[in-house]
Symmetry: C2
């Protein structure tokens, strides 16, 4: 047996991920020693309540409520408490006392990333956060290391498991939005307050983190255009299905280069995806992210988007890397904001759209609508007119690629038209 150096590991938080990290660190001590070149000693676990029930049996003597004494003196600090404070203060304390930090805190990074990365650069320590985006799936490190020699053009994918679970249940089992949400809550996919997931905040935090990394630009939550799945109905899902689509909540990070110069667009919204597209086969709580490199072309990363033990795998990968760096010496690879690209307004993006209108059932409706589209500079690729059993006439328009600004103006004019009863839905079509 090689005589390994010992590194002190402080764990902040013992929730579903933290307790699994603690268990694996303790159960596979020899393995981690071999992999990292250092014996990883779990020095203590910061908890709010020493007597709270936990997923995993943790030795009482490791639990503490005293953050300061646990953090100072640690070589590696794993932050899995979530939330902004006191997580932010603890991480800054850890970095200032020379520890490497591993965190899964997307809310914190999306809001205070630059401050934390600066603090790490000052002392040459590393901040790793593979667990913050897409659970178990290695996506941060591939972007940071594997694709460091390429230029990322676009990232798009499914990064929120809860909403994917809901949309998938609606699509595959015909559940109503309410029933699918209730099921998601019962199965633990949704928190007691489901707003973060349903309204797209969680996905937007992850999009901000991915865009920052991919485009070497500081991107915060305020830069992300965000629409959730609150307005998605069973009818819209069924309509999508009939047209060969499935509705997915997508996070999209994209470089734009148009007459207004170079910019980035970071956005989260539910969109139509062809059922032939690989993202259409991402079921349940899984995540999948496409990364398009200028040289590499499209790459896809797929796996479990959440789950205690799955996410623990991502945390521990970061821990082993931090330990190797600690042993080998050298400074961590810092974040880079050297490009500082401006964020484009949503009006500047261009994509395809599907517009569903309820119209009055009379002669000449189509001509009126075609005229409005034409005046707005929006070109229709497909137009389908239907009358349902209740006598409601609908027109479904699939557009060619159009600029969001032009599309929005045109939809407003359609809504004002006498022949249009109601704009039933406007959905973007992505992945083409």
């Amino acid at each position: 047996m090689i005589d390994h150096r010992t590194l002190r590991v402080a764990l902040l938080g013992a929730g579903s991920v933290g307790s699994q990290v603690a268990r694996l660190l303790r159960e596979h001590g020899d393995d981690f020693a071999e992999r990292s070149g250092a014996r990883l000693e779990l020095a203590g676990i910061l908890v709010r309540d020493l007597d709270a029930p936990r997923d995993v049996d943790l030795p009482r003597e490791l639990l503490t409520t005293d953050a300061e004494s646990l953090i100072v003196g640690a070589d590696i600090v794993i932050e899995l408490m979530g939330g902004i404070e006191p997580a932010r203060t603890h991480i800054l304390t850890a970095l200032n006392s020379g520890a490497d930090v591993v965190t899964g805190n997307k809310a914190l990074l999306a809001q205070h990333g630059p401050e934390i990365f600066d603090a790490a650069d000052q002392v040459g320590a590393s901040v790793s956060y593979e667990a913050a985006v897409a659970g178990a799936i290695p996506i941060i490190r591939p972007l940071k290391d594997s694709l460091a020699g390429d230029r990322i053009v676009r990232i798009f994918g499914i990064v929120n498991g809860s909403t994917n679970f809901i949309l998938d249940k609606m699509d595959r089992e015909g559940l109503s939005a309410e029933d699918a949400q209730r099921l998601a809550t019962d199965l633990g996919y949704l928190e007691a307050d489901p707003t973060l997931d349903l309204e797209g905040y969680d996905a937007a935090q992850k999009a901000a983190i991915l865009a920052s990394l991919a485009f070497h630009t500081e991107v915060s939550m305020d830069d992300v255009h965000r629409e959730g799945i609150e307005s998605i109905t069973a009818d819209m899902i069924e309509g999508a299905r009939r047209a060969g689509f499935v509705i997915k909540l997508l996070a999209i990070c994209e470089r734009l280069a148009d007459a207004d110069g170079e910019a980035i667009s970071v956005r989260v919204y539910p969109a139509l995806i062809s059922r032939e597209h690989p993202l259409a086969t991402v079921h349940g709580g899984n995540n999948a992210v496409f990364v398009e490199g200028e040289a590499a072309g499209p790459l896809m990363f797929y796996g479990a988007g959440a789950g205690g033990v799955q996410t623990a795998s991502a945390v521990l990968g970061d821990v082993v890397s931090a330990a190797r760096r600690h042993i080998a010496g050298g400074v961590g690879v810092g974040e880079s904001a050297r490009q500082s690209l401006p964020t484009a307004e949503i009006g500047r993006i261009s994509t395809r759209y599907q517009i569903t209108l309820e119209v009055s059932d009379e002669q000449g409706v189509l001509a009126v609508i075609a005229g409005i589209l034409n005046d707005g500079g929006v070109s229709a690729a497909t137009v389908e007119q239907t009358v349902d059993d209740e006598g409601t006439a609908r027109i479904v328009i699939g557009t060619h690629r159009a600029r969001e600004q032009a599309l929005g103006d045109t939809v407003a004019r359609l809504a004002e038209s006498d022949v249009v009863v109601r704009v039933a839905s406007v959905l973007r079509v992505e992945g083409e």
Copy 2:
């Protein structure tokens, strides 16, 4: 502009990947400086013939046939010559003179990996080889770093683009094996000597590299059970389609734990995959690899499996990492053979099988066959009997999971039976 240190980069080989690496290094010099923290100076390019035609215009003064003077004095050596010698000697020279090495040479690593990794460990240099497996797809680094805190249970996927192209054309366009091969040759998917691809050697080399890394065990080509796609006919593809399957050439690396103890199985063969399985949707020359971590669960990595510029992306990611290490100091993360697990014989694996028999068209055939299966300890999940237009009677048996040894013995007994005219095919069913 930050004043960067300059690192001398030697490029060995200027084929389809090498010439793209040279182009990108020269065109995006400032980018690479920012990403790696060092200015990467392309010191020279080793070629066999100074006057050979190339995919990319390369400045004549960079080309050289003098390996020794190019390599000694370089900080990073990129080996993209392929083949065993002189690539092996050049890499050892580079390591011994203190350079970090980046290579895409799967044949060399599958045969001389341990020697090369030992040489790197001796001097604390790094050997990176993301481009050796699955082209542009980041798979080596995720295994080495991202999943370093997990225990890999199984890897399986499509790692040879040429054979996937051929099987895909046969499946989707109904081409014969000969026509699909001819098309693959015309489009540059197959080399003049297609044996390496068609007989599974290329996939086996990649499987050996993946298994070595995943299981911390030295795995060479001799440890890989290898079957190619030579015997796959249009009939077999069509039969698979009717039964809801597609045939893919799979590389499988697996931990076994049975009564005979812990071992690994590394194998390459064409197998049936359900059309519902994500691997069934991998078309053309693309690659996709599933990695199953004990904690992470199944992860999938998908993208271009070959192509000059795509593979250059993987090479350059390694170059940036090597440059960072050079600047930051510290030693590279070495390979590990600490587990040294034995390799299991193919007879020890267990999977499901589909057996197609031509039988005599008479009463009681099924009973005879069922008896042989039963005696052999092979349990049938489905049995389908058909008679085609020419009056040939066939029985297609889908087995439950069985041990390969038992299956092989049983098939031999079936072949000897009076009621069996011919064993038309035996295919494994994977991904379930």
